[in-house]
Subunit: 281 residues, 4 copies
Amino acid sequence: MTATSHTTTTDRLLAAVQAGVEVYDLGRRLFFGMPQSPNHPAFLLTLPRRHGDMVRADGGSAANDLLVMGTHVGTHVDALAHVSQDGRLHGGADASAAGAGGRYVELGVHTIAPMVRRGVLLDVPAALGQEFSPAGYEVTPDDLDATVARQGTPVGAGDVVLIRTGWGRHFDDPDRTRYVGHDSGVPGVGADGARWLADRRVHAAGADTIAFERLAPGAGHSALPAHRILLVEHGIYLIEAMDLDGIAAAGVHEFTFVMAPLPLFGATGSPVRPLAVVSRG
Amino acid sequence: MTATSHTTTTDRLLAAVQAGVEVYDLGRRLFFGMPQSPNHPAFLLTLPRRHGDMVRADGGSAANDLLVMGTHVGTHVDALAHVSQDGRLHGGADASAAGAGGRYVELGVHTIAPMVRRGVLLDVPAALGQEFSPAGYEVTPDDLDATVARQGTPVGAGDVVLIRTGWGRHFDDPDRTRYVGHDSGVPGVGADGARWLADRRVHAAGADTIAFERLAPGAGHSALPAHRILLVEHGIYLIEAMDLDGIAAAGVHEFTFVMAPLPLFGATGSPVRPLAVVSRG
Amino acid sequence: MTATSHTTTTDRLLAAVQAGVEVYDLGRRLFFGMPQSPNHPAFLLTLPRRHGDMVRADGGSAANDLLVMGTHVGTHVDALAHVSQDGRLHGGADASAAGAGGRYVELGVHTIAPMVRRGVLLDVPAALGQEFSPAGYEVTPDDLDATVARQGTPVGAGDVVLIRTGWGRHFDDPDRTRYVGHDSGVPGVGADGARWLADRRVHAAGADTIAFERLAPGAGHSALPAHRILLVEHGIYLIEAMDLDGIAAAGVHEFTFVMAPLPLFGATGSPVRPLAVVSRG
Amino acid sequence: MTATSHTTTTDRLLAAVQAGVEVYDLGRRLFFGMPQSPNHPAFLLTLPRRHGDMVRADGGSAANDLLVMGTHVGTHVDALAHVSQDGRLHGGADASAAGAGGRYVELGVHTIAPMVRRGVLLDVPAALGQEFSPAGYEVTPDDLDATVARQGTPVGAGDVVLIRTGWGRHFDDPDRTRYVGHDSGVPGVGADGARWLADRRVHAAGADTIAFERLAPGAGHSALPAHRILLVEHGIYLIEAMDLDGIAAAGVHEFTFVMAPLPLFGATGSPVRPLAVVSRG
């Protein structure tokens, strides 16, 4: 971050930025073959036009891409329209009727305002003295309380809370099924942990796993209580498949969280590249 | 923006955020049928699964999307790999060889670091006493100087400079070809304006037009000098099809600019939702 | 067609083939930018892998494609699931319920058996002494009767009947909107012509227009009586955007019609390449 | 097949059709999740518009699809542009140069003429007294000679020859990797079997396996001699992932083969639905 030196701003935020910030990238690289849930269309990126395919008379040439993907692929946010319970979306709207027309006008991802908020990383394995949470481990309210206490980072209304399990270490496994964890299970919060977050009225919650959810070994996605409690019952956005290892390694537990989902009109989610920003030293 | 009140941070940036900020959304909504260049794959978003299609035994249901689009569609950033001149990319690499393998490893959009920087809006028509720049109008260095002077916002090295023409007013025209402007032409900088920016060593430049370029009436994309000068010769990223009307209406000309392109490995561009953030009050 | 000479078959059909046949291609080439209805996803074909991108140690290399398209694009067949009237599909099934799950299991295009049948070309403009049917012209039962009489080709139950208007001449117009005809209108059968076909219990009906339907100038697709009568009321498949000029030029009005729609499970249509085959000489 | 009874044709082919034919479908159903090579984009089919999404004033409604797939997915044909050896395509053209522009103009799948030809099924396991060829088994020239002799179906120039291994039994395995066979291997011809076909100057060759090739256990696609010999050296088209079980069960070894690849301009392959047709009784 090279701050420009020849201006003097009176804007407090900009002054803080120009004094020097560290930007942590919480989004994972999107590439063909990366681990993703088989429930969502696979990520594809191709070049319809490469340099040299069509060169203008003046010697210029442009290359471009075609992107094909599900919106719950890579690091992404779940809009409230993503999940329903007993035929109802968050707020009680009829879930089937909401999608008529082929898009979710009311609770689609385009309705998520950009976030510039306090963010808190809860580094659960660090607090519990583990390298990473074991496969299928359920992160409990006690674990969350212990992590808050150890870090000294209380969680408040409107915050974005990111729960690290260390499971991100499997994202680059040659065996792509490991991170997805249908066989092994995946660590994460269950119903109780979700209620802990809802009680604190957080704005959004994120994790370094494929779903913001503890997945039992072999159970697949047969039950998703955290999705139900957070998205449907409390209107709390979920951010999944984040990269939380860099920020954890830096010991940064409190930061300015910035995330701007693509305003895909009517979609149930969006790929995102969330940032954690802190003033430097 | 509801700041959480029960915490006291020592982070200067977060303190500024918690004191209250205004967030301006500079990205346009992405929807089927929006204006876009015919050179890029059209935007499509469909729901492979809607609520009710597959309801789990516990009454839960998830809906999801398939996204198909070019990466230079809607508000987007051009990576350096996007344009070549005389067979060379920025830095001199052979453009044809760079794309072998079907992706641009070296200068792809995944190499763009997230931006948290000083941003400057140059509201050219406001400075020139116009409602908007006329079709095909070339924004000159004199225009840029006059705008800087009138606003009191000098442009410095490392800044992100956004040039408003007012052409965004045509984005929602029923006639989708108007914004694209192949017949009418589109206002913007030409070679001289591009050099003005390059001389100031800006980090990135954006506009509210389909291309960061003045397009002459009827000329289409036969020559793109600003792309050549900025992307190829100087390695300056371009951001196109921005929504600059809200921030202009608010009279905000200097701000913290935040943008995190999707790290699409090997791609030549990415849809983005850039933000301008200022301290409130 | 080079018949193999060293075998003697006892199969009557194969003997006819080996005695020599002419094969007329009734399908149009599929290419980026071809005329298509804006109601359907645009045709895209790109090369994710080109020769040279990945060469094996033994010197071999493979190139491959990504295909993105609507199924009612180019020469295509409409499955019965494509159209409903008053909430009902052909046979009375509830149209909304039929699509639950994101596919049409009952009347999808995968349920269309391959066709090897008598085909009849009704070359309407030739019979009426015209070069081609005018824009927006409605082909009447009298026209069809006159064409049958002039050609000496009665239409019977189970036949595939192809109605030529000559409108295919606009398929390669530089102005892609001409063939689609939203402004000009498109010639074809209306409700009366559709009933004429239904009365004869044809198996399928085709045309050289974007829709098997007369489109009034400026009316767009506001009413599609032939679709309703043929698909919904009588279960007769429709084939659209055919190339009927070659066969018409050859004066072939009766032939073996062969068409094998792709068995796209649950889809409402399929691109096809229908053939008309006749014994030579 | 209901022949129409009220017409009397003088066309020998049509007369044979109207006397009654059996049509065998040699194409597999295309569905989400079917086995396919990981080298090719996955098959996706979704409904952007379902019945009820948009109902016209007259009560009519149309549903439509978006199709996304590789062209070497499901039952498909390989165009000559698909494979190169030592930088050359069939006929000697430079393989890299041939794809410039993002399409193969010269040897793309659009250049394959529709086929109406003598077809021969070589039911290898039936001739060898096996239920199916074992995993990784190489079908030898001796096996092919024995099959021809046992069936009494010599192979001649211009024929389409389909080699059955019985491996199609794995297409519907719950374990999708079985049919693909990267671990187990797949039976098929090797270099010697390919030369046997080339020596007989067949027009095209097909199989009921994912590739027209014997794949050794664990070897993946590290060497593809049959592709090199047939596509590159001799210009013989390959048809893969066919369903040959129905025709084998019926004991039909000689037939009229009909196949019309989609004329996808510049593509390296096309999904197809080939037919085998024989006179009834």
